[in-house]
């Protein structure tokens, strides 16, 4: 299977179904692992679905195709939803999702390049540190005259790291229009609301002032995400930032917007309730979890 970059009109229903399943997978992975970062991951499901279900170019038979599109998950703690997207795109086995955060798993607690270099361009987790790598990849793609695009995903709290703004400067200075940054603007970080901890507003103005094209959307509206990704791809001469206004733990009303779900793990009952709230569709089945001895 090979997905070409942004082919035809996106099938919005297919993408929302995929996002729904990514949420189910994320909840089940983190519950099974017994730890993880559920809130941010759930909030990214819609964007991740649009990337892997439509926007990105990749080939499961040639995963290191030099012209593929890349993801750099700079907010590496949200990786559960990324791993789920890799599995739902046929790039890694579905069963593997049950290994997340376990010894020997490729699906490390934070993305590890050495575990899966064909899909994980860079290890990430320390905030602010993925973004510069995305710029480096984009510079190298330009040098090789490749059409590959680089999707970097950032948390909003992450933008408190000064290094992020260094990277914003670099992408703009080098006019890296193959870079598309998504900011998961849910206004939540570990200690509370971003605006209370260390405000980043007015965010769109700041990023614009750094020389970027900026699009602000509802980060859960698939049609808006698809439109923003198209706009980013057709914007030449400057990088594009998509500010996705999101709700942490979107899809599970009992968890939505509550900072404690940055890093808490739902218990059995909470997991059941969360899966119930997310719902199901006919397109997918849950990944198998073997009974533990």
């Amino acid at each position: 299977m090979k997905q070409k970059r942004m082919q035809g009109n996106a099938d919005l229903q297919k993408l929302t179904d995929l996002a729904q399943q990514l949420r189910r997978d994320t909840i089940r992975m983190i519950h099974h692992a017994g730890s993880g970062h559920i809130g941010g991951a759930l909030g990214l499901a819609d964007y991740m679905a649009a990337l892997y279900g439509w926007a990105m170019q990749y080939d499961d038979h040639d995963p290191t195709d030099p012209d593929r599109d890349r993801i750099v998950l700079s907010n590496g703690h949200t990786c559960a939803v990324w791993y789920a997207a890799l599995a739902r795109s046929g790039l890694i086995p579905l069963e593997e999702l049950a290994t997340h955060r376990r010894m020997g798993s490729r699906l490390q607690g934070h993305p590890a390049r050495k575990a899966m270099p064909e899909y994980i361009e860079t290890s990430s987790g320390p905030l602010g540190q993925g973004f510069p790598v995305a710029n480096g990849i984009a510079l190298s793609l330009r040098k090789r005259v490749s059409q590959g695009r680089v999707y970097v995903i950032l948390g909003d709290g992450e933008l408190q790291e000064g290094q992020v703004w260094e990277a914003f400067m670099t992408s703009a200075h080098y006019k890296l229009d193959t870079i598309c940054a998504f900011i998961n603007y849910n206004n939540i970080q570990i200690d509370g609301k971003v605006e209370d901890i260390m405000g980043i507003a007015p965010l769109a103005d700041k990023i614009k002032a750094f020389g970027w094209h900026v699009v602000e959307i509802d980060g859960h509206d698939t049609a808006s995400i698809v439109a923003a990704l198209s706009e980013a791809a057709s914007t030449k001469g400057k990088p594009t930032a998509i500010i996705g206004n999101t709700i942490m733990a979107k899809g599970v009303p009992s968890m939505e917007g509550d900072a404690k779900w940055h890093g808490n793990t739902p218990n059995d009952a909470e997991t059941e309730a969360a899966l119930e709230a997310v719902g199901t569709n006919n397109r997918f089945k849950d990944f198998p979890i073997a009974n533990r001895a």
Binding site: K114, E121, S123, Q129, P132, L141, K143, R144
Partner: protein, 313 residues
């Protein structure tokens, strides 16, 4: 090649331009220090492969890692002190943990920056790099070795830290001498004491050996140009043959060459050992030679430590 007195950073600039002509995957990034670390020659010849990153070292290292991940061979260039402290986390995660093929080239290692003072003097850079898995550390002793180390770094796959001096220093190795990463060189044979030195302390050690020879003391001089992976075998064999060891480095004795040699000897062959190096302190402004003298980093300090260690045999 070079003779007389020559700055290692100049040789680095020459080597970079030469290897750049042979391999178009070589790219160079700098953080506003093009001339200071002598990457201008490369910039002139290959402007399309030269990336000015501005004064943002962590971003430079991360960007270089991305370029390496996509198949380029990036050399980053700035002062030793800024690279290893300021960008340490980027080196740890983006370069080393990713095992990205980045060559972290630095100038102004040690006290040679002189009058700029303590903030700009790198005393702990090698120790910081030693702590990071996957890192190879090269500290050439003169311009000829700096040239060869640069070429060797470009040709090996994996992260490399390169430390060059700023000021002209004596050229003590020949143009045709071999250079192999991880293989220390014996520059002078002797059986009374082994002096294991790195960087610009190697010429000082050779000078010390001449003075000691006048007193009938035969010093073996080991040029430890690779601090990691360390040539443990040469250290152990030299200690066995000589019965005592002095290390010499323009760097703190904590965790650098002295610390590394102490670890090897303690584990394998406990041997009387004394260290010449910076003693857990910051530097200050002054002419490089004045600082070397005040902080006990000269050939006469090596001679003094040799005389002391000989009594411990």
């Amino acid at each position: 090649m070079y003779s007389g007195n020559k700055a290692m950073r100049d040789a680095f600039g020459d080597a970079l331009a030469d290897i750049g002509a042979q391999d178009d995957r070589i790219v160079v990034l700098t953080a506003d220090l093009t001339d200071a670390i002598k990457v201008g020659k490369f910039k002139e010849r290959f402007p399309e492969r030269f990336y000015q990153m501005g004064i943002k070292e962590s971003d430079m290292i991360g960007t270089a890692a991305g370029m390496a991940i996509d198949g380029q061979i990036p050399f980053t260039s700035t002062f030793a002190v800024f690279t290893t402290s300021l960008a340490n986390q980027a080196i740890r995660v983006n370069v080393a943990y990713n095992n990205a093929n980045v060559k972290i080239a630095t100038s102004h290692g040690g006290v040679c920056v002189g009058a700029d003072g303590a903030t700009h003097q790198a005393f702990e850079d090698v120790a910081l790099m030693r702590l990071i898995p996957n890192m190879t550390i090269l500290v050439p002793c003169d311009a000829n070795e700096a040239y060869k180390a640069t070429i060797a770094a470009a040709k090996m796959d994996g992260p490399v830290y390169l430390r060059f001096g700023r000021i002209p220093s004596p050229v003590v190795t020949g143009a045709d001498d071999p250079f192999e990463i991880g293989k220390a060189r014996i520059l002078r044979d002797g059986k009374d004491v082994a002096i294991v030195a790195m960087g610009a302390m190697v010429p000082a050690a050779l000078e010390a050996a001449s003075i000691l020879a006048a007193d009938g003391i035969k010093a073996k001089i080991v040029d430890m140009h690779t601090i990691k992976p360390l040539d443990e075998n040469t250290i152990i064999e030299s200690a066995k043959e000589c019965g005592c060891v002095v290390t010499a480095e323009e760097h703190t004795v904590l965790g650098g060459l002295g610390g590394a040699v102490a670890e090897v000897l303690a584990k394998n062959l406990p041997t009387p050992l004394r260290m010449v190096g910076v003693l857990d302190t910051f530097g200050e402004s002054g002419e490089p030679q004045e600082i070397l003298e005040k902080y006990h980093l000269t050939y006469s300090d090596i001679v003094k430590q040799v005389r002391l260690v000989l009594k411990q045999k």
